[in-house]
Amino acid sequence: EPEVTQTPSHQVTQMGQEVILRCVPISNHLYFYWYRQILGQKVEFLVSFYNNEISEKSEIFDDQFSVERPDGSNFTLKIRSTKLEDSAMYFCASSNAEQYFGPGTRLTVT
């Protein structure tokens, strides 16, 4: 069964550094998403991506964040100048109808 994959599973970075989180969506899906889940809190929508551009973004997704689909398979989330409060689990999802989620990347900012 096809699935969404994410790498790395855990990323530790120092405050102020840039990180890139990577996702491989399900191959025939057209819509891609990033969500985050701060420890103990609910899952929050960050951004959706369709046809090589951002379709929708939340108020969380400010200029610190960017997304890219650099090739036909990968979908990335870049976080510039990380802050302590960026520590969270980041989930990628893809869909043509219902959304399927990857296993997540746990980002720890120290």
Binding site: F45, E98, P103
Partner: protein
């Protein structure tokens, strides 16, 4: 703006007993509703979805949910829980069944199964 309320933070059920997890939503139009399950350290797995049609939907692992428009609810049920059902359960609402709109999640219900 859409919102999802899961009023129960924790629920404890005995193995073999029935289960109902509550979900209420706020949304102006016809919602697209989902239940996801998250085991510790894992991602979100889709249990079931409601887009339209029959208001009682069947999902994986023996779960079902019923959409009640008059009550703005989409409660998740299972007739007999197994120890492996212990997990965090999230209800979510979307504006479209497929498309660019992000999902709005509830805060989740932590299900504990006691022997």
């Amino acid at each position: 703006a859409q919102s999802v309320t899961q009023p129960d933070i924790h629920i404890t059920v005995s193995e073999g007993a029935s289960l109902e997890l509550r979900c209420n939503y706020s949304y102006g139009a016809t919602p697209y509703l989902f239940w996801y399950v998250q085991s510790p350290g894992q991602g979100l797995q889709l249990l079931l979805k409601y887009f339209s049609g029959d208001t009682l939907v069947q999902g994986i692992k023996g779960f079902e949910a019923e959409f009640k428009r008059s009550q703005s609810s989409f409660n998740l049920r299972k007739p007999s829980v197994h120890w492996s059902d212990a997990a965090e359960y999230f209800c979510a609402v979307g504006e479209g069944g497929g498309g660019a709109d992000g999902l709005t999640f509830g805060k989740g219900t932590h299900l504990i199964i006691q022997p």
